[in-house]
Each structure stands twice: as C-alpha cells, then as structure tokens.
C-alpha cells in the first residue's frame, strides 16, 4: 500500500519535472522571473543563514573544546574539528535542512495558493505551460544561489568560532586560527557544494510538486507545505548518504 503510493508520487513527480524542463514560452518572461526568485529564495535566506551559522560555529567550538580535554590532543584540534564539521556537514546538509523549512514551505504555499485560487488554471487557459512558467525559475534560482549561501555559512561559522576565542579564554585565538588552517582540504568545499546543489534541487522541486498538486482550501495548502518540508528533508538525508558514499569513499 505504502509502496504503491510512493510509486505514484514518483510517477507524477517525474511527469511534472518533464513539463518543467522544457523551453519557456517566452525567454523574456523567464529572465524577468529569475532575479525575483533569486532574491526571494536566496537573498532573503541570507539573514537566517548568517545568524544560525555564527551561533553554531561558536557552540561547536565551545563543545569541541570542553569535550576533548585530553592534554595529549594538540591545541589546534578544536579549530580543526570545528572547520571540518562545518565544511563537511553543517554548512551543506544541516543548512539545507533548515532551508528546506524556510524555502520549501514558502515555495509550496505560494504555488499551492495559486492552485486553489485557480491562478494556475488561468495560466493554462491562456495556453501557458504553467509548470514551466512557475517552477523552472524557482529551481534554477535556488540552485544558483545555494553555493553562495553554503560558502557564506562556512565563512560565518568559522568566524563564529573565532569570536569564542575573542570573548572568552576557552580557546586561544592563535590556536583556533592555526587549527582551522591545518591540513586544509579544498576538496571538502567542492564536496559540500556538490551536495548542496543536489539538496537545492530537491527542496525547490519537491516543494513545487506538493504545491502544484494541492487541491481544496487554505487548510490543504498548509498540509501541502508541511508535506513538502518533511519529504524534502527525508530526501536530503537519503541523498546525503548516497553522495557521501560516492564522493568520499
């Protein structure tokens, strides 16, 4: 029963994506939507990315230090652990899980309310491929913006850790700065960005899917956006395992 409904979802998701990835009716309209979506989905998420990353960077530094009190560990280990956690998992996976909540619910409720107020039907009646017109700019915009958000999250997270050194004597600034540069592997950043591109695609497309096929009233739009957030989070976690196996093994 559950398998059947999953298969059904996969089927209609795929056919929706086939409609999304076609040539826009008018490129001019596509390029008018794109910057608007980049602002709404990317730029408007900058605040939450900065705040959360700073605090998590700081907390991670404190926790790492307090939980590794073994004097045999080198002093730079705190900075190193903080850096690798940020680069490998936090700024891509965890950040995208948070953005799945913000961006996913935004996209699903916007498209969902257009569905129930017949605005999508209105597009169709005009002869417009509504899936392409509404969804393609969102997916492209978010996929374009996510690497910036990830890099900013990394930088701000590391800065958050540094602030711990400035405002307390839990770690020394010099040890921290040495730690975050020690044995730095640029590949980690590449790995994080590749992951985040996949996650961004998942968030924007899954949320669009739930919004596009919502029906009923305002309550159903709420349900659609909850479904969008829950299911895109699950898919992010699953694909994280797959990509990590693929790239780090």
């Amino acid at each position: 029963m559950i398998t059947l409904s999953i298969l059904k979802h996969i089927g209609s998701y795929t056919s929706l994506m086939l409609r999304v990835f076609t040539k826009p009716d008018r490129w001019r309209m596509f390029f008018r939507q794109l910057p608007k979506e980049m602002e709404k989905l990317g730029l408007d998420s900058l605040g939450i990315v900065i705040i959360i990353s700073t605090f998590i960077g700081a907390i991670m530094t404190i926790q790492t230090k307090l939980n590794t009190s073994d004097p045999l560990l080198p002093k730079y280990s705190t900075g190193l652990v903080t850096r690798d956690t940020l680069l490998l998992e936090f700024s891509s996976t965890i950040m995208c899980l948070i953005l799945a909540g913000k961006v996913g619910s935004n996209v699903a409720s916007e498209i969902g309310s257009m569905r129930i107020s017949e605005q999508i039907d209105a597009l169709e009646v005009m002869g417009i491929n509504s899936a392409n017109y509404l969804i393609l700019p969102k997916i492209i915009a978010f996929v374009l913006m996510i690497p910036c958000l990830v890099i900013i999250s990394m930088a701000v997270g590391l800065f958050g850790g540094y602030l711990v050194g400035v405002f307390s004597d839990i770690v020394s600034q010099n040890d921290y700065l040495f730690g975050i540069q020690y044995m730095f592997q640029p590949f980690y950043i590449f790995y994080s960005i590749v992951k985040s591109l996949v996650f961004a695609f998942i968030i924007a497309s899954v949320a669009s899917y739930y919004g596009f096929y919502s029906y009923g009233g305002a309550l159903d739009v709420g349900k659609a956006s909850t479904n969008a957030v829950v299911n895109s989070s699950i898919l992010i976690l699953l694909s994280n395992i797959v990509i990590t196996n693929f790239m780090l093994n």
Partner: protein, 258 residues
C-alpha cells in the same frame, strides 16, 4: 461556434457529466444554469480542456479538442479568454500587469502598444487609472471581476468563458457585469458561455440557456421560454424565489389580456 456532443466526464468512478450535447453560437451569450454542484464548472472546464473528458466531442468551429495534440491546444487557447469563479487574478501582479500579462506572453506588440491595449481593456470595463497600480487584494470583488474580464479580452478572444461572473456581487454590480459581457459578445461576435445560478442574469442576458441537473441536460431554451416550461426540475430552480412566481403570474395576466 462551439458544439459539444455526448460529453461524459467522471471523477474516480463518480459520473459528473452524463451525455451532454449542446450548441453555443457566436455573438450570443450562452448560459449554463443549474444548482450548486450540478456540474457547471466541470462542464466549462471540460469544454476548455482543463479536464479531459471520458468520451464525446468538443468542437471549436469544427476543431475537436479531445483529438488535438498538446501544441495545437496551446495555440487554440490563445483564442480563449476566461473569467474564473474567483477571478484568479495573479496576486503578485498589479491590475495593469495582470492585463498586460497575456500580451507580453503571446503578442509581439511594442511596450507602448501593449500599454495602450491595457488601458483600452481596463477602460472598456470601466476601471480608471487610479486602479492600475493596485494589487488584486487592494480592490473590491466587483473590481476584481472587471479586471479579470479586461485580462480575458486582452488578446481579442474568439471564445469567452465566464464562470459565475456575478457570484458574491450586489445586484447593481451584477447587472453592470452581465451587460458588459453581453455588449462585448455582440461587439466582437465572440462565442460566449456563462455559468450562473442567478435568475437575474438569466432574465438579463439569457439568449440561449441550457439547464443542467445532476450532470444531465434537463432543458434548453431562452429566457422567454423559461417561464412556460413544464419541466418540473427547471421550475423548481426558476421559481425557488417568490419573486419569479409573481413575475410569471404577471406574465400570464398580460398574456390573457392580449
């Protein structure tokens, strides 16, 4: 002219439209009437092709929609304007942008021509310049309906569909909108189909009426014939309000005097 033949439509085994045939002529306002839930909206959306019908034919001047390929339907849609039950204006766009939208999407007009066309259409539905830069949420329901009509006629449609153009409006505004639809239809020789359950509209613009009862066509005629029908379900619908019982009584008196 739109002709539908033996149209059936069901949702998950529930038959909503059963064997409906009708002819909708151009230059006339064709009405589909019936109680709430009788299948008016489904019929209209089936005619436009938003719902895929189970069987039957839908002919737009001879072109059968169910036989057409997606690209052909897309082309045909550019000849179609529709006013939705809830206006369906794009709420992220201003009134002016809403009306410009189909032009930007499909016409090759210059910016100035598009703006002129937008002003003409909004003028045609009596919306003045003060509304141009307002968002749909900032104007009243009647103004939204009028803006939606302006958007529907922007590309000079050959076929105009109106789903309950005056639900939720006061009688006076309803009248204005009904008359507007009738005028536009006659002026441009459009094939217009209007869904309604409002008897005032029926009396005002009902030149060709089909009455739907639980998904079946139960009666067909015009506004003059509607009082003299001996179809029970139609009479239940028409004479639900006492007013029309009185109208009928007066009609009968006048006829017997003549």
């Amino acid at each position: 002219m739109i002709e539908i033949q033996n149209v059936y439509k069901s949702f998950d085994g529930k038959n909503v439209l059963k064997n409906i045939s009708a002819i909708f002529e151009s230059g006339k306002t064709n009405l589909i009437i019936g109680q709430s839930g009788s299948g008016k909206t489904v019929l209209m959306k089936s005619i436009i092709g938003l719902h895929r019908i189970d069987s039957g034919k839908i002919l737009y001047d001879g072109r059968n929609i169910p036989d057409m390929q997606f690209m052909k339907i897309k082309k045909l849609r550019q000849e179609v304007g529709m006013l939705f039950q809830g206006s369906a204006l794009f709420d992220s766009q201003t009134v002016a942008q809403n009306v410009m939208f189909p032009l930007e999407m499909f016409s090759n007009m210059t910016q100035i021509d598009m703006e002129n066309r937008m002003k003409f259409c909004l003028g045609r539905v009596n919306l003045d310049e003060s509304t141009y830069n307002l968002f749909p949420s900032e104007i009243s329901g009647g103004m939204q309906k009028r803006a939606a009509i302006a958007r529907a006629i922007a590309l000079n449609p050959r076929y105009l569909f109106c789903d309950e153009p005056n639900s939720g409006l006061d009688p006076l505004t309803s009248l204005v909108i009904d008359r507007l639809i009738k005028e536009i239809t006659e002026e441009y020789d459009i094939t217009t189909i209007v869904n309604t359950h409002d008897m005032n509209s029926v009396m005002e613009i009902g030149e060709n009426i089909i009455f739907i009862k639980s998904g079946e066509k139960a009666w067909e005629g015009n506004r003059h014939q509607i009082f003299d029908s001996n179809n029970d379900s139609l009479n239940d619908f028409v004479f639900a309000s006492d007013l029309y019982k009185k109208v009928k009584a007066t009609n009968n008196i006048q006829e017997s005097k003549q």
